[in-house]
Amino acid sequence: MQIDLTDQPIDVAAVLQAAESAEAGAVNAFIGTVRNRSEGRRVVRLHYEAYPPMALRQLARVAEMAQEKWPMLRKIAITHRHGTLEIGDVAVVVAVSTPHRADSFAACEYIIDTLKEVVPIWKKEEYEDGTVWVAAHP
């Protein structure tokens, strides 16, 4: 399991490589990038704030939960970026390997879905006329 939080650009290929295994023929990867629109508004850039020790701890927990649900998981690699990101920048990469492909899709989707619910990282979208903390209010 390789878990990382960084304020530098993510080396996507390196994260994928960390998930590959000679025993697993299937790698599934999710790459989250900064979109130029959000709910109809033009996004200029994004600011990610993290609570680093807890974020790393919770990322590892998510990976551990996935490993329990999919015991056939061979490798799990997750890297999340924080700081200021421009349009098109990679914010998060999740990559997993399994012997058979259906498990790789299910486990990778579980990890990114759960990550978005529990990992203490906060996204502030910057528009041309202001900023909003995403999903903060009902």
């Binding site: 020790p53 999340h80 209010h137």
Partner: protein
């Protein structure tokens, strides 16, 4: 006892500083801390959710806080 609460994201902006030090009664619970902060900073009550983390784990309502704990307020997360 004195506890220090780290603040992030919109919670940091509502309170206006990155952490706050509070006098708390011995045996203060996570839920008690939340209630106190929501009362002191009404903007926090408008958030979709608000959790207390103790030593990098989400704390259940009845978790008792200690002076040396690393305590943080966790507004709605939006990573990924």
């Amino acid at each position: 006892m004195t506890i220090t609460v780290a603040l992030f994201g919109i919670a940091r902006e509502i309170v206006g500083q990155p952490s706050i030090a509070l006098d708390a009664p011995a045996g203060q619970s996570a839920a008690g801390l939340l209630a106190e902060l929501r009362s002191a900073y009404p903007g926090l009550a408008g958030l979709r959710s608000l959790a207390v983390a103790v030593n990098s784990e989400y704390a259940a309502d009845d978790v008792v806080l200690h002076e040396r704990d690393e305590i943080a307020l966790i507004p709605p997360v939006s990573g990924g």
